[in-house]
Symmetry: C2
C-alpha cells in the first residue's frame, strides 16, 4: 500500500519520468491507487500514462478517475480508443460519467456503444438523479432454484467475469423475478451435490431502483451485506448495488450536511479544486441572507433607542447575551440534525425532544446566569462602570440568559424537525441560521426584561 509520502514520490516520478520509466512505475501500483494519484496531482501528463497502461489496467484506472480527467482523456483519445473505453467500463461508472455530459456529447458517446451496452446505459439513465438505479450495475449472477451447487460453481466460472461482485448469487424464477439471494460463501461451504433450493431461506432484502440513494445506507447498515439486489416496482431483478458505492454516498451525504450546517451551500467539489468564483457564490448566498436577517437586530435595537440612550451600560452585555442564545441553539440543532440523519430521532419523538431541550435549556441557562451574575457582582466592587444599580442589571442579564438559552435550545431543536416534517432538508437550519434567528428574539427578551426590572431606576 502506498502511504501519503510514497504517493507524492510516485506523483513526482510520474511527472518527470520517460515512457519506459512510466511503464515500470505503473506496473507497481494498483489501478485504484494510480487513479488516486492522478486525481490528486495537477501536473501528471495522464495521456502519457495511458499510453503505457495495458488494456485491462487502463479501464480500471479510467473508472476511478475524476470526471474532468475522464472527459479530457476522452477528448484526446482516438475514436477507436474512446469506443473501446466506453464499452468496457462498468455500467455504473459509465452512468456516473454520462449523467454529467452535455446533451451533444452524450449522444455522440452513446452512438459509439454496442447495441447491448447502449440499451443498458439508456435504461440506467432513465432512473431519477441520485436514485439507486443510477448507482447500480446490471451485471450480476442469477441462477435457478433446481440447479446443484456444482452447476452453480461451473456457471460462475463461465459467466462471472463480467459481474462486479460475486459475493452474492441471486435466484430468479423463469421470468426474472427475484426469489432469493444467497451468499457465495454458502455455495463454497455446501456439498457439491446439494440443490440451490436447499440453500434458500426465501428471506432477502432488495432495494427499489427508483428510491433515493440515501435509503440504501440504512439497508446496508442493517443487513451487513456487501451487495444488495435492486428490483423494479414489479419485483424484476434489474441490478445490484455494492457497498463501496454506498461508502461514497455516505461520505457525500455527510459532507453536504456538514457544509450546510456551517452555513454554506454544499460545494459538491473538493475545496482546493472548486473555482474561487464558484466557492464564493456558494458562500455568498447564505451569508447575505443571514446578513439581511441580522439587520433586524439593528431595527430591534433602534426600537429600544430611548432605553439605550438612558442606560448605555445595557449595551455592554448585548454580544454576550446574543452569542449565548446562538451557541445553545447551535448545540441543539447539531444534535437533532445528526440524530435525524442517523434515524435515531423522528418527527414522532417531538414531544420527547421538547421536554429534553426545555430541561437542558433551563439548566444550561441557569449555569450561565449564575456565572454572569457573579461576574457583574464582582466587577462592580472594583469599577463604577455598572453604576449604583449593578444588582438590578445583574438580575436583568441573568434572567435574560435563562430565557435566551431556553429559546435557543427550543428553536435549535424544533426548526430542524419542522423542516424535515415539511419535506425540507433539516441541515439548512445551520448554526449561523439558528444564531441569527435567536439574536433578534434575544434582544427583544433582553430589553423587555430590562424595561420590567429597571423601570423607575435606570429606565
Amino acid at each position: 500500500m502506498v502511504t501519503a509520502e510514497e504517493k507524492e514520490l510516485l506523483a513526482e516520478r510520474l511527472i518527470t519520468g520517460n515512457l519506459y520509466k512510466l511503464k515500470h512505475l505503473c506496473s507497481t501500483v494498483q489501478p485504484e491507487e494510480l487513479a488516486d494519484i492522478i486525481n490528486d496531482s495537477k501536473e501528471i501528463d495522464y495521456l502519457k500514462v495511458f499510453q503505457v497502461l495495458d488494456a485491462e489496467k487502463a479501464i480500471k484506472t479510467f473508472e476511478n478517475l475524476d470526471f474532468k480527467v475522464q472527459l479530457d482523456l476522452l477528448r484526446n483519445f482516438s475514436l477507436e480508443q474512446v469506443a473501446s473505453t466506453l464499452n468496457q467500463i462498468s455500467p455504473d461508472d459509465r452512468t456516473a460519467l454520462f449523467e454529467k455530459l452535455s446533451e451533444e456529447t452524450l449522444q455522440k458517446y452513446l452512438s459509439l456503444l454496442s447495441d447491448e451496452e447502449r440499451k443498458t446505459t439508456k435504461e440506467l439513465l432513465q432512473y431519477p438523479e441520485d436514485s439507486i438505479g443510477r448507482l447500480m450495475t446490471p451485471d450480476f449472477i442469477s441462477v435457478k432454484e433446481d440447479w446443484t451447487v456444482v452447476q452453480v460453481l461451473d456457471y460462475i466460472r463461465k459467466n462471472g467475469s463480467n459481474s462486479e461482485t460475486i459475493s452474492n448469487i441471486y435466484v430468479t424464477d423463469s421470468n426474472g423475478f427475484l426469489i432469493d439471494d444467497i451468499k457465495v460463501r454458502d455455495f463454497l461451504l455446501a456439498p457439491l451435490d446439494k440443490k440451490v433450493n436447499e440453500l434458500m431461506d426465501l428471506q432477502y432484502v432488495s432495494l427499489n431502483a427508483r428510491d433515493d440513494q440515501e435509503s440504501a445506507i440504512e439497508f446496508f447498515k442493517q443487513t451487513n451485506r456487501v451487495a444488495l439486489p435492486v428490483t423494479d416496482f414489479k419485483g424484476l431483478l434489474v441490478g445490484i448495488i455494492t457497498i463501496d458505492d454506498v461508502v461514497d454516498v455516505i461520505e457525500e451525504e455527510d459532507t453536504e450536511d456538514i457544509q450546510k450546517f456551517g452555513g454554506t451551500e454544499a460545494l459538491d467539489e473538493p475545496y482546493l479544486k472548486i473555482s474561487l468564483y464558484k466557492m464564493i457564490r456558494k458562500r455568498a448566498g447564505w451569508l447575505v441572507i443571514l446578513f439581511l436577517g441580522e439587520m433586524l437586530t439593528a431595527s430591534a435595537m433602534g426600537y429600544f433607542n430611548d432605553e439605550l440612550n438612558k442606560a448605555v451600560v445595557l449595551t455592554l452585555f448585548v454580544p454576550l447575551i446574543i452569542s449565548s442564545g446562538g451557541n445553545s441553539g447551535s448545540q441543539a440543532a447539531t444534535l437533532i440534525i445528526r440524530a435525524m440523519a442517523l434515524g435515531e430521532v423522528t418527527w414522532l419523538d417531538w414531544w420527547h425532544v421538547i421536554r429534553r431541550e426545555v430541561l437542558s435549556g433551563l439548566t444550561l441557562g441557569s449555569i450561565l446566569a449564575i456565572i454572569g451574575f457573579l461576574r457583574i457582582a464582582i466587577w462592580s466592587q472594583f469599577t463604577t462602570i455598572y453604576g449604583d444599580y449593578w444588582f438590578l442589571i445583574g438580575l436583568t442579564v441573568s434572567f435574560t440568559l435563562v430565557g435566551v438559552v431556553m429559546w435557543g435550545t427550543l428553536m435549535g431543536s424544533m426548526i430542524p424537525m419542522l423542516l424535515k416534517k415539511i419535506g425540507k432538508d433539516p441541515a439548512v437550519s445551520s448554526a449561523p441560521f439558528i444564531a441569527t434567528l435567536v439574536d433578534v428574539t434575544g434582544l427583544i427578551i433582553y430589553f423587555s426584561l430590562a424595561f420590567l426590572i429597571l423601570r423607575g431606576t435606570l429606565l
Copy 2:
C-alpha cells in the same frame, strides 16, 4: 425487507405476543433486523424473545444488539447460556463487548471462554482502544502458494464456516507472513487445476493492527475491497477487517465531528438514549467556556465606554457586525475541517488556503459592506436615528464589515489547520468557538475604525 412502519408493527407484536406467536414472528425476520427492532424499542421483553430463538439465530441476533441489552441478557442468562453465547459470537463483536465491561465482569466472562477463545480475546484486547486490532476478526482463510484451485476450494468448504467473510483468500508463507491476497472471485473463475501462485500478483494492501481505525477508511475507499488483511508490525497476518465495520466507523467519526463542530462534546450515545444529566454535562462544558470567552466582549465594550456614551448609535450595529464575522468564520471552518477529514487539504496547502480565504473574505466582506452601506443610506432618508453623520457611520460599518469578514475567514480556516498541525482534533474549532473568537476582535476593529473615521464629528 422491513420498512419503518413494518418495524413498528413487528415491535408491537413482539411486545404483546405469547411465546408461540413470538416463535413464529422471529422466524420471519433476519437476525440483524430483529436486533435492530429490539435496539429501537424499550418495551420488548428480549429475554422472552431469546427463549424462542434457535441457537444460531440467537448468536447472530446477540452480536447486533446494543451493549446495554447484551449486558442485561448476559446477567439474566443461565451460566451455561452465557458461556455458550460468549464462546460462539464472532471475535470482533466479542472485543467490542468486552472492552466496555468492568474489570470484575471481564475476568468472570474471560474465565467462561474456552482456552483458545480466551487467548484470542486477550490478544485482541491488548491492542489500543480505537485501533484496527480492536476491530478485526482473527478468523480468515489462508492458503499456501503451491496449492491448486481445487485444493483451495476444498479447503474453504471444510474450514470456511468460521470465517466472517471469504471474499478474500490470503496467501501466507510457512511462518504465517502475508504474501498476497486474492479475491475469492479469482478462484471461482479460474480453471480448477491452476496453481495459487499463478493467480498471485504480489500486490496487496494491508493494515497495521496498531493503527487508528480512522486510517482504515482511506484504504477501503482507495481499494474498493470488502475486506482487508491486518498484519502486526513484523508482517505476520493476524486478522482481517470487513467493510461493514468500517461503515460504522465512518458514521461514528462523522457524528463526532458534526457534534464537536456544533459546539458540544461528542455524545457517544444516541440522542434519545443518553441520560439527560450526561447530555447536559457534555453541552455545559463548551457553553461555559464560550461564555467566559464571550465575556471579553463586555470588557472590550467597557473599554470603549466613553465612545459608546458619545455615540450610542454605534451600538445598533454591534450584533450585525459580530454575527457577520462569526458566520463567515463558521463557513470557512466547516469547509476546511471537512476537507481535512476527507484528506483533500493538508497542512502543506496552508498558503494556498490563505490565499483563497483572503480573496473570499475580501469579496464576501465587500458584498456585505455595500448592502450595509445602502441600508444606512436609505434608512437615513426616512429616520433621524443615525443623525447628521449617517454617511460617516455608513463608512465605518462598511469598512468594519470588510475587515471582520476577512478576519473571520482567515481565523476560521487557519485555526483548524493549526490545531491539526499540533496534533489536536480540528473539529473542536467549532462554529461557536470561531464566532466567539471573532466577536471580540470584531468589536475592537469596529471601535478602532469608528475612532479613526468619526473623530472630530461624533466622537
